[in-house]
């Protein structure tokens, strides 16, 4: 039995379990806090974008915390849009917009949330990646672990080891699909997909001809089971047909 707590977020009373993350409590209560590097798909959060900051007053002391990983341990009063938070969030936003000027989804966010207006910040030309790390988390969650952050400081980026094609990569596109800014580039011909400096042979469904994935990803996903030759929907249809055939006379 976990202990229940009542806290106040922007003046609204919210109940939560002790230890629950502040962001989750706010969301459940319909209070919007922006996030970039957090996804429900993963249990751990990198807490690196810092856009989800809020002000927490606890025992008479006020502090700025990142709500996506801040566990509520005692009663507190939370401000998600205080003057301080709006100012600092707009600075973080401005920093991100200038880092990734080519990230389209960001332009809309700026409209909605505001970013510090200034022509004094430098931009990274052509950059789309905001280094949220979701791609790395997705790849790790699969068990492939082909990409990671490399370098440090201002040179940090996402890459395969030594920037070379990685044996661990199966070309599944999980990273590209999870990426909020479309920063991971790949290309496809009829037979080949190219991603992370490596070419992968595409496999098509023997029934409908749809791309099922790369040879490596299909084998990887099958693990020790038989490698499928049909796409999911064709396989289901087949199964249904077989059932029909079997039970037709019952």
């Amino acid at each position: 039995m976990s202990e229940m707590l009542t806290i106040s977020i922007d003046g609204k009373e919210c109940t939560c379990k002790k230890g629950e993350y502040l962001y989750d409590v706010a969301k459940r209560n319909g209070i919007f806090i922006p996030t970039f590097c957090r996804s429900d798909a993963f249990e751990d959060h990198r807490a690196c974008c810092r856009i989800c900051i809020v002000e927490v007053e606890e025992g008479g002391r006020t502090k700025v915390v990142t709500s996506c990983v801040y566990p509520v341990e005692r009663e507190c009063s939370v401000q998600t849009r205080s003057e301080k938070i709006m100012e600092e969030r707009s600075v973080v936003m401005a920093l991100l917009v200038h880092r990734a000027p080519e990230a389209p989804s960001f332009k809309n966010m700026v409209g909605r949330m505001g970013a510090t207006e200034t022509d004094r910040l430098v931009t990274l030309d052509g950059e789309k990646c905001i280094l949220c790390g979701l791609c790395v988390q997705a790849c790790n969650a699969l068990g492939t672990g082909a990409i990671s952050t490399v370098n440090r400081g201002t040179e940090k980026k996402i890459d395969t080891p030594y920037g070379k094609g990685s044996d661990a990569c199966v070309g599944c596109l999980s990273c590209a699909n999870v990426c909020p800014t479309g920063a991971i580039e790949y290309s496809e011909t009829d037979t080949t997909r190219t991603i992370w400096n490596r070419d992968f042979e595409l496999v098509r469904c023997e029934e409908c001809g749809q791309v099922m994935g790369t040879q490596n990803s299909v084998v990887f996903a099958a693990a020790d089971e038989v490698v499928p030759t049909m796409c999911d929907s064709c396989r289901k249809k087949h199964l249904a047909d077989e059932m029909m055939a079997t039970y037709r006379y019952v």
Binding site: I53, T66, P71, K84, L95, H98, V122, T154
Partner: protein
């Protein structure tokens, strides 16, 4: 406090073999002295032993050689001095190798003001005993603290540490007793004790010197901590470049195992303790506690959010106490002499002593250990001997790359954790860089920001992108492209970094910028509005010229100029060709007559 009187009956010649002195040829000196002893032969009454010690502190005057028990100190010794040194053992001292105060040679260590105002606890045995000798450490009272701890309960040990008021010397100043108590309170095993020997601050060498000069003190501190919290395993995380420190620590670990101090039964108590070394990951950020633990676990040295503390879930998700080298090396004395003795030194809120590595434009650079609360003025002027060339003092930078700069008006501040933080600087691990009037504070801020741009892990937005933008704005200001509003923008970015960064590196990274804006704002304004660098450092804004009346025509500047821009006949006033001058300032450093002037660049 003088631990030298615990030495054996034989006369000893202590040759400092710390990293600094080795670089200056100490090993050759030790060899030459040994050879001389063999040649001249010790007299029947005096047995001579050459003892290679750790750093004595005054590296810039090294190699340092000391005679015991006569307590004669020689500085800047060369191998060719060996004969005179050995001969002087029973005769007159060699004056030219001695420290001079007002022209008079100083015989004893204690009479040299560099040492006289110090109070050595952590460094008590450093530079005095042979770091590779367990016997010498024991003869100096070593492992008595551990022996006492073994007769106490964990609570009693922690009470003693609490009573001492000891606060972590790795930078944050967290009370060590409280940290231990929290870790002791968790019933999750195994627990770990980890020693932070990463020391990534450029210019700092106190932890390295402690590990080199008295490795057993660090091990003893860890063993006591392990008993207190109930750990049976400890790891020393040592900066990759510290080969000598690593060797000495390993040597000490091996000796301690052989002597039954480590292993299955610590000093026969039945408590198990295993210690081992892990080599550092090579980045400044790896000294941060969560990054350090990630690095030990073989992951990328990146910090994580710290809302759950390492004392609860640290290394391999188990309760872990991480302490700094100096913190741990303070523990043996606290257990041996009692916590209250330690608490008598220092200030109300910061007890005991602190080791600083003082470098920069100060006459005597080196390692110093002083009581907490000593003023910056005492450090710079009394111990450090003042500014080189008696130029005006401008600022002292404390706390490492993300520390702050303190101006002359605050020189009487007592140095302790809270005061430094209040003034926008910090204790950090104890680096101190003294700057004279030829330092541009905007350029200083740019230099540190540049360092941090490379050394931050780059995981979180405010730190990574904030530093990138600060670097670009500061570079603009230094190169004459500053714009009105830049100072305010730097402040906004800085405050956001302080609040929103993930780890303490990002939270403190704006210190160099914010503290220089706070205390030297007019210098920023001069760069931005007048396109002028008042200190004459920023090349794009500075023009050099020689004042004919002051120039003696000695030609030192001509020799120093890397661009060949200076001409002039001997004993005639020299001239700088502005077309060739690259504004590096070498001539100004070289001129002993103050004849090189800087003005605002007009061309």
């Amino acid at each position: 406090m003088n631990s030298a009187n615990t030495t054996a009956t034989t006369d000893r010649i202590l040759v400092c073999c710390g990293t600094g002195c080795i670089a200056n040829g100490a090993l050759e000196v030790a060899e030459a002295i040994e050879q001389q002893i063999a040649e001249q032969g010790s007299s029947a009454t005096v047995q001579l032993k050459v003892c290679r010690t750790g750093c004595s502190g005054e590296c810039e005057a090294g190699p340092v050689v000391r005679f015991m028990p006569r307590d004669l100190m020689y500085y800047r010794v060369r191998p060719k001095d060996a004969q005179a040194i050995v001969a002087s053992l029973e005769g007159a001292p060699v004056e030219k190798l001695m420290h001079k105060v007002d022209g008079k040679a100083v015989e004893h260590m204690a009479d040299n003001p560099f040492y006289a105002l110090q109070h050595k606890i952590v460094l008590a045995n450093v530079g005095v005993i042979d770091p590779l000798s367990l016997d010498e450490y024991r003869a100096a009272g070593g492992y008595e603290g551990l022996a006492r701890a073994l007769k106490m309960t964990p609570e009693q040990i922690i009470d003693e540490v609490d009573k001492s008021g000891l606060r972590g010397k790795g930078g944050a100043g967290f009370p060590t007793g409280r940290k231990w108590r929290t870790a002791a309170g968790y019933d999750v095993f195994p627990k770990y004790i980890v020693c932070n020997g990463d020391e990534g601050d450029p210019g700092a060498f106190m932890d390295g010197s402690t590990m080199e000069g008295c490795p057993h003190a660090v091990l003893e501190g860890m063993a006591i901590g392990a008993l207190a919290i109930g750990a049976e395993e400890g790891i020393l995380y040592i900066r990759d470049e510290y080969a000598l420190a690593r060797d000495h620590i390993q040597h000490a670990i091996d000796d301690a195992y052989a002597a039954g101090i480590l292993g299955e039964s610590v000093m026969g108590s039945g408590h198990r303790l295993d210690l081992s070394i892990v080599r550092g990951g090579g980045a400044f950020v790896c000294g941060e506690s969560t990054a350090l633990m990630a690095s030990i676990e073989g992951r990328v040295g990146e910090p994580r959010a710290k809302y759950i503390r390492s004392v609860q879930r640290g290394l391999f998700d188990h309760p872990t106490v991480l302490n700094n080298v100096e913190t741990l090396a303070s523990i043996p004395a606290i257990l041996r002499d009692g916590g209250s003795a330690y608490a008598q030194i220092g200030t109300d809120s910061s007890k005991g002593t602190k080791v600083f590595a003082m470098v920069g434009k100060v006459k005597h650079t080196g390692l110093v250990e002083v009581p907490m609360g000593t003023t910056l003025r005492t450090l710079v002027y009394d111990i450090g001997g003042g500014i080189i060339g008696d130029r005006p003092f401008k600022a002292i930078q404390t706390g490492g790359p993300s520390g702050g700069c303190i101006p002359e008006s605050l020189l009487d501040l007592p140095v302790d954790f809270d005061t430094l933080t209040e003034y926008g600087a910090m204790m950090g691990s104890g680096g101190m860089i003294v700057m004279d009037d030829c330092s541009c504070m905007v350029e200083v801020a740019r230099y540190y920001v540049d360092f941090l741009c490379e050394e931050s892990c780059g995981k979180c937005t405010p730190c990574r992108e904030g530093l990138r933008q600060m670097r670009s704005i500061l570079t603009d200001i230094c190169e004459g492209r500053g714009k009105p509003g830049d100072i305010e923008l730097l402040e906004r970015i800085g405050h956001t970094m302080e609040d929103a960064s993930l780890c303490a590196l990002g939270k403190t990274a704006p210190n160099p910028v914010l503290s220089t804006i706070r205390f030297f704002r007019e210098e920023y304004e001069a760069h931005i509005s007048n396109k002028e660098c008042p200190a004459g450092v920023c090349a794009a804004l500075t023009q050099f010229a020689i004042e004919a009346d002051a120039c003696t025509g000695c030609g030192m500047c001509t020799k120093a100029c890397p661009a060949g821009a200076i001409s002039g006949d001997r004993k005639e006033a020299h001239m700088i060709d502005p077309a060739k001058c690259i504004a590096c300032g070498s001539c100004r450093e070289a001129c002993r007559f103050g004849a090189v002037l800087t003005t605002r660049r007009t061309a």
